[in-house]
């Protein structure tokens, strides 16, 4: 019976990034995927003829350019197009736009508040400063502060030097930033509700916290440290939908000789004598591997795929307590014509960007209150985009795909599981919010895919439907992600590694966890890593 050098559980973007790097290092790698499609949460499927959706993740910024280059993803069809603007539509029929042009952006803010318009400069500087500190850490394995191995010590010294290189004031600012709420952070710069609401979005997306919860300022940073071709903080659409990312990865992987098996759900990891020896598929088939890498989240991996007896108790306890709460849903809509938003000027660049309807931080926080009571938000916060305004490949000319990320959406409703009726009522909440701002919207709908945490967990495998495979709060970052002592992609089971977003540096379609995990695995195997680029310089 064949023994693979490595078996990757899950063909999500991190699993595929990991697989590509291992295969290119000369290993014989198998990726097993439970679905009959690949991509995990970076996927584009045609659920109704003529419309390609970005079913889960829907915009791209964080994906590391070093990885795109190393794995030749452009050659395999990956192209990211930056989008043009964005807006919050306000209840009084106006809007606040975000424009790419610096001065237009300032003038737009000045429509609301001359002071806020000029405050943006300092805000942008401060966020940039924080980004510059964190960026170089993305493509490095977090040091283990409890270890005295030379590499950990030197990485700790690196981190310490970076921190010590800051002035006392900067250190204070940083500690505040990493722990404070996005609402408090924004209050230090801005006075206008809608401006704060727009900027606060990035602090709560995918997070089961409200804008007034401590720790959400860091989440904002996580959304700012990406780039589109050197334009730091910019977001774009992957041409062909987010599935283009994983399609390119899969093509790259296969081109280098790797194998992907779909409809191959892993029932459990085969462990013998404390060592991973392969996987057992649903149906009982055993596939042998010298090592196993799980792209599934830490809870799914260790609470479902590994037998408890193989794991030390403190580790298990921490995994159980890892915060990976579902907080969002997704409504994907096929439209037979371009929706109209009378508040926006005709052909506004905002239509080719992100649109929202939540015009105050307080409304956002109220939406979170519903989540705490185990209900979806009656007045949810939407992050809505129409990639087909820039991408001609996802729908026929004149037709549009609209992606609505919806927050908040609890993993259980009133303490019970989601029902189909709940799901439909949730969708109706979303549609009616859009229709308030877009007359005739309902008549344009051709097809709709509604995904609550129930669907996200069942189909994609994300525990509770948490898009980041675990919340991005300071207690779950760096050497504490996913749990202390196991932040370096290894696990208590020899030969079983983690490479998903549950690991450092966390979620979003970034690829860094998959890449960093590959570096650790190759280090253990004493294989060269010359095919892996170092992180780009932050100068």
């Amino acid at each position: 019976m064949k023994t693979y050098d490595a078996i990757i559980i899950g063909a999500g973007h991190n699993g595929l990034v990991n697989a590509c790097y291992l295969q290119r290092a000369g290993l014989d790698v198998l990726v097993v995927e439970k679905n009959d499609w690949i991509g995990g949460a970076a996927v584009s499927r045609e659920l109704t003829p003529g419309f390609l959706y970005s079913n889960c993740s829907y915009v791209c910024s964080l994906f590391r350019p070093e990885i795109m280059r190393d794995l030749e993803l452009p050659k395999h069809g990956l192209q990211v197009i930056a989008y043009e603007g964005g807006a919050v539509l306000t209840q009084d029929g106006d809007y606040l736009a975000s424009y790419r042009d610096h001065d237009a952006h300032r003038r737009e803010y000045a429509r609301w508040s001359p002071r806020d318009a000029e405050a943006y400069e300092r805000y942008a500087r401060d966020v940039t400063r924080q980004c510059r500190f964190i960026q170089p850490l993305l493509m490095r394995t977090a040091p283990d502060p409890t270890s005295f191995r030379p590499r950990d010590v030197s990485e700790l010294v690196y981190l310490g030097r970076k921190f010590a290189g800051l002035s006392a004031q900067e250190m204070a600012e940083m500690l505040r930033f990493w722990t404070m709420s996005i609402s408090d952070f924004l209050d230090e710069y801005f006075e206008t509700d809608v401006i704060k609401a727009y900027l606060a979005l990035s602090g709560i997306i995918g997070t089961a916290l409200g804008p007034m919860s401590p720790g959400t300022a860091y989440v904002l940073l996580h959304h700012y440290m990406g780039e589109v071709d050197g334009s730091v903080g910019a977001w774009g659409y992957a041409r062909g939908g987010m599935g283009a990312v994983t399609r390119a990865l899969a093509d790259s992987f296969r081109a280098s000789g790797g194998t992907i098996r779909t409809e191959a759900e892993v029932e459990r990891v085969l462990v013998k004598g404390g060592e991973a020896k392969g996987v057992v598929l649903a149906g009982g088939e055993e596939v042998l591997g010298r090592l196993v890498v799980s792209n599934a989240d830490v809870k799914r991996t260790f609470l479902k795929l590994v037998e408890e007896k193989e794991l030390p108790d403190p580790f298990l306890r921490r995994v159980r307590n890892f915060k990976i709460r579902g907080s969002s849903g997704k409504v994907n809509i096929a439209l037979d014509s371009m929706p109209e938003f009378p508040a926006l000027p005709k052909d506004s660049p905002c239509l080719r960007g992100d649109l929202h309807f939540t015009d105050s931080v307080e409304r956002m926080e109220r939406a979170y209150d519903d989540w705490k009571a185990e209900r979806w938000s009656a007045d949810p916060f939407l992050d809505m985009v129409m990639p087909t305004t820039l991408d001609p490949t996802m729908a026929a000319p004149g037709k549009h795909f609209m992606s609505c990320f919806v927050q908040y959406c609890p993993p259980k409703v009133d303490g019970r599981d989601w029902t189909d009726a709940d799901r439909d009522a949730f969708a109706e909440t979303v549609i009616s919010q859009i229709a308030d701002y877009s007359p005739g919207f309902r008549d344009r709908i051709v097809h709709m895919e509604v995904r609550t945490p129930r669907e996200l967990e069942a189909e994609v495998g994300l525990t509770e439907g948490n898009i980041f495979q675990g919340e991005l709060t300071f207690d779950q970052l760096l050497f504490n992600r996913p749990v202390p002592g196991y932040a370096q992609y290894r696990s208590p089971v020899n030969g079983l590694y983690m490479c998903g977003s549950s690991t450092h540096p966390g979620g979003g379609v970034m690829g860094a966890p998959g890449r960093n995990a590959a570096a650790e695995i190759l280090r253990d195997l004493k294989k060269p890593t010359k095919h892996m680029s170092e992180a780009h310089d932050v100068i």
């Binding site: 001065d103 237009a104 300032r106 429509r111 609301w112 508040s113 002071r115 300092r122 800051l166």
Partner: protein, 409 residues
């Protein structure tokens, strides 16, 4: 100060701004008509000319006749109220109590760490009314600094149009335009003159080191003022100019530009790029006798501890190849700084530069300084190592700049 909440209709009226990403100044129709080069750049969100007809000859209009330059994009704040003087004194480095109504001074202001936020000119229009003109935007800083002062701060960049009229015949032009009384303006004086049904504020100030004036007018009266000056100036050789020519004159005059010759505190992403006044040649502004002002404690402490790490100097460089953005070396080896602006000066007939150096170089150690010039010549860098000497600024000092009454050329 209460926060300004704008009405829905006021906001709606302003929505159309996105239709023109780069604004046109109130003088744009005239500039466009004169622009043979069609050579524009963006200045603070406005379309502004780099050159209009000939960037080299435009310089000579400044030094030989009268040059008209549109300064409308300059950021302007109105500071008004019973506490305006006290507020400006708290805000800026120099003693505003000594700035009498009808006077202007060049000043700078710092954050609480003593790092320069900007430099600019403070116009005292009356006992309780000031105008602050500068490169960057500071409304939150000004409003926060105003807490506890009975003063109103308003940004008025768009509503006030500005022109600089600079050069030997600039006074003659104003006199010919019928602006009686301009002859009484000494350097840094300002006065108000009738124009149409309103007024024009004229100050004897400028950015060229030459005889010259700056004129501020309600944006709605901008074109009539332009026409008045051009008409009157025809026989005095008046020419409209772009920024390239002005920049040459300002380097000769030794003036610095925020975020070109130094990085302002609110823009510095890298913590070591900020500068104290003493580090960019503005230490003379710091008035330690006048009472507390923003940054005072930090500045005095840095002086006391000898913690000033940089110095901005004028350099005279061997040869005639401008040393723009060249690295400065001590003894040809040790890297000690960077040139931020450099030209061959047509008036001084010298190769001049403004540079920021790491102390003690440029401060107590001024010998054996060199600049490394990379001159691109037909697709090859010609690398020159040239000796540089620290010299006083301004590089060009013209008696006509300060002569009162002004010369009639």
């Amino acid at each position: 100060m209460a926060k300004a909440t704008k009405s829905t209709s006021a906001r709606r009226d302003a929505q159309a701004h996105i239709e023109m990403l780069r604004l046109e100044t109130p003088f744009h129709p005239r500039l466009e008509a004169l622009s043979q080069q069609n050579d524009w750049y963006t200045w603070a969100g406005y379309k502004a000319p780099l050159s209009l007809w000939d960037e080299e000859l435009e310089y000579f209009a400044i030094r030989s006749q009268a040059a008209l330059f549109d300064i409308s994009p300059m950021v302007k704040y109105r500071i008004e109220g019973p506490d305006a003087e006290a507020f400006c004194n708290r805000l800026t480095l120099r003693d505003v109590a000594k700035l009498k109504p009808g006077r202007v001074h060049y000043t700078a202001w710092c954050d609480e760490n003593g790092h320069v936020l900007d430099d600019g000119t403070l116009f005292r229009l009356s006992a309780d009314r000031f105008r602050l003109c500068c490169q960057e935007r500071h409304l939150p800083w000004l409003m926060d600094s105003a807490i506890g002062f009975d003063v109103e701060v308003e940004e008025e960049t768009e509503t006030i149009a500005g022109l600089a009229l600079q050069g030997p015949t600039s006074f003659a032009v104003l006199r010919a335009a019928g602006l009686d009384g301009v002859e009484r303006l000494k350097p840094f004086d300002l006065a108000t003159f009738p124009h149409k049904r309103g007024t024009v504020t004229i100050s004897r100030t400028g950015f060229t080191g030459d005889l010259g004036y700056e004129l501020f007018v309600d944006a709605r009266q901008a074109l009539s003022l332009w026409d008045r000056l051009m008409e009157a100036g025809r026989v005095h050789g008046i020419r409209a100019i772009g920024y390239t020519a002005l920049n040459r004159a300002r380097i000769e005059a030794g003036f610095i530009v925020a975020n070109a010759d130094f990085v302002t505190a609110e823009h510095a992403v890298r913590a070591d790029r900020v500068r104290m006044p003493d580090e960019i040649g503005l230490g003379w502004m710091v008035d330690r006798e006048k009472g507390h002002f923003n940054g005072r404690r930090a500045i005095l402490k840095a002086r006391e501890k000898g913690a000033l790490r940089h110095v901005l100097v004028g350099l005279e460089v061997e040869g005639n190849v401008p040393a723009e953005h060249a690295i400065v070396y001590h003894k040809g080896k040790r890297e000690v700084g960077l040139v931020s602006a450099a030209i061959w000066s047509p008036t001084a007939k010298r190769n001049i530069a403004i540079a920021s150096l790491d102390r003690p170089y440029g401060d107590t150690v001024t010998d054996d300084l060199w600049v490394e010039i990379y001159a691109m010549r037909e697709l090859r860098y010609v690398k020159l190592m040239k000796r540089a000497r620290v010299v006083e600024r301004p590089f060009v000092k013209l008696a006509r700049r300060s002569a009162t009454p002004p010369g009639d050329f």
